[in-house]
């Protein structure tokens, strides 16, 4: 072939190659056109609590969570006249998401007479891809007021003495789509001290995890290890194992635990029983959260 004919063939080949490709090639173009966006790991936990302790999750802006937590347990008496369970404690709370990152809550507990308020701020969100943070970080601060009367005159019980504070850094990672792990370095300042316990400041490390059994069901467990537990009366680290179940706007949590209390400082430093199946050590816990959306995202 002459060079000229070669050129013609080349031109025709180029033209043929240049003709629009298949629809699959079009899809390829679209992938290249898509703007790069950092994706975040969603739903490390489904609820704002793992069991008794807070999880890294905060609700989206404008969501009010009506949160009712219950603990049922038996008194150690060999014979009991109560129906189902001897004792019941309930914490009623309203928890509102001011922004996607900041939540605030107010609650009151029947059994231990604690009134509590908290602020929770989601500082770092875990990214879903390789770039960005591999963990999520949420800061938690609460204050609680002990409202019950104190008969012992030796105990200082002015208003300020009745306040306790808990500060937590909740660090969690959605390891894979089913398994999430959380570490919670915790500082507790206790208000009232009993039995001459000199120490009012306590440090603890919380460990929590969830494993998804299905689309809506997960098994969860939590434990707080205390570096300097309250010595008198002797206390134990709170442990729980349970199931979280979400049903549309309702979240249900069922758990077995040794912790009676539901406010952070109380269950972290004040759990008097170890985890076993003897009364009154074993508590059955049932948390109910109902989510109300005050913000509608679509206009029309």
């Amino acid at each position: 072939m002459s060079p000229i004919k070669n050129n013609i063939v080349l031109v025709i080949l180029l033209f043929l190659a240049g003709i629009s490709g298949s629809a699959q090639d079009l899809l390829q173009i679209l992938e290249e056109e898509r703007p790069e966006q950092l994706q975040y790991a969603e739903a490390t936990f489904k609820t704002t609590r793992i069991t008794f302790g807070h999880s890294v999750e905060t609700r989206k802006k404008g969501i009010l969570e009506v949160f009712v937590a219950n603990r049922f347990w038996d008194s150690p008496a060999p014979r009991s006249q109560s129906f189902v369970a001897d004792r019941l404690s309930t914490r009623f709370a309203l928890e509102y998401a001011l922004t996607d990152r900041l939540s605030a809550g107010l609650g009151g507990t029947t059994w231990d007479g604690l009134f509590d308020g908290f602020l929770k701020y989601r500082l770092i969100r875990q990214s879903a891809g390789k770039e960005g943070s591999p963990v999520g970080l949420t800061l938690f601060q609460n204050a609680s007021y002990y409202s019950k009367g104190e008969s012992d005159p030796a105990i200082a019980d002015a208003f300020s003495d009745r306040l306790s504070f808990t500060t937590q850094a909740l660090i969690a990672s959605k390891v894979n789509r089913n398994f999430s792990l959380q570490l919670a370095p915790t500082y507790v300042h206790k208000g009232l001290s009993y039995y001459g316990e000199p120490n009012k400041d306590h440090f603890a490390l919380g460990v929590g995890a969830r494993y998804k059994l299905g689309q809506h069901l997960s098994v969860v467990s939590e434990y707080y290890w205390l570096l300097n537990p309250v010595e008198s009366p002797s206390t134990y680290g709170p442990f729980s194992i349970g199931v979280n179940w979400e049903l549309g706007d309702v979240m249900l949590q069922f758990m077995l635990t040794n912790a009676v209390n539901m406010v952070e400082e109380a269950f972290i430093t004040g759990t008097r029983n170890n985890f076993n199946f003897r009364s009154p050590n074993l508590n059955f816990g049932f948390n109910f959260a109902y989510v109300i959306h005050f913000k509608r995202n679509l206009r029309n």
Partner: protein, 181 residues
């Protein structure tokens, strides 16, 4: 002979320019609706990408599932986490062809788009009646179709079956502009 080659090149190039032109929509809107007596669910995605090759009428659409905005924030989480599993299947795509498409016809034309819609890793063949509007220099494509939830292997727990319709109505609307390679 050289002149001939130049002429051929010229014709091919100009022809190429007219025929192989592509148009793209970067902010296409796809919305879906589920109506049940229990609750109505509506979601909207305004960042859907679509491209049409005017030379042969082939069309492609691609959307990110987690870009859908729901009326309630929690619905979005459930949609991504429990139903379409957008961590595993982040995209829904459509590839197909506009049948009997005349890119030069001004005004409105109604055409069938035939192709495959892929979501949740399941492909189904669809034929969608579509309105194509060619005004000034831009094309607008809109229409709607119905999708069966069952077809896409999306599991809905029996307790929530009453909340989610079996047939989902999908509306779409794309405005295209010329695509520069």
């Amino acid at each position: 002979m050289n002149k001939f080659i130049i002429l051929v090149c010229f014709i091919l190039c100009t022809g190429y320019h007219v025929v192989a032109q592509k148009i793209i929509a970067r902010q296409g809107r796809v919305a879906f609706f589920s109506y049940t007596p229990v609750e109505n669910i509506k979601a909207e995605n305004n960042q859907v990408l679509s491209i049409i090759d005017l030379s042969n009428g082939s069309i492609a659409v691609s959307m990110l599932m987690n870009a859908f905005i729901f009326e309630k924030a929690l619905m979005r989480e459930h949609f991504n986490e429990s139903y379409v599993e957008s961590d595993l299947y982040p995209k829904a795509t459509f590839v197909g062809e506009i049948l009997d498409f005349d890119p030069l016809l001004r005004g409105e034309q109604t055409r069938i788009i035939k192709g495959n819609f892929t979501m949740h890793d399941v492909s189904t063949a669809l034929e969608i009646k579509t309105k194509i509007d060619y005004i000034d220099s831009s094309y607008e494509v809109s229409g709607s179709f119905e999708a069966m939830v069952n077809d896409y292997e999306i599991k809905i727990p029996p307790l929530l079956a009453g909340n989610i319709a079996k047939v989902i109505t999908v509306d779409f609307r794309f405005e295209y502009e010329p695509y520069q390679e």
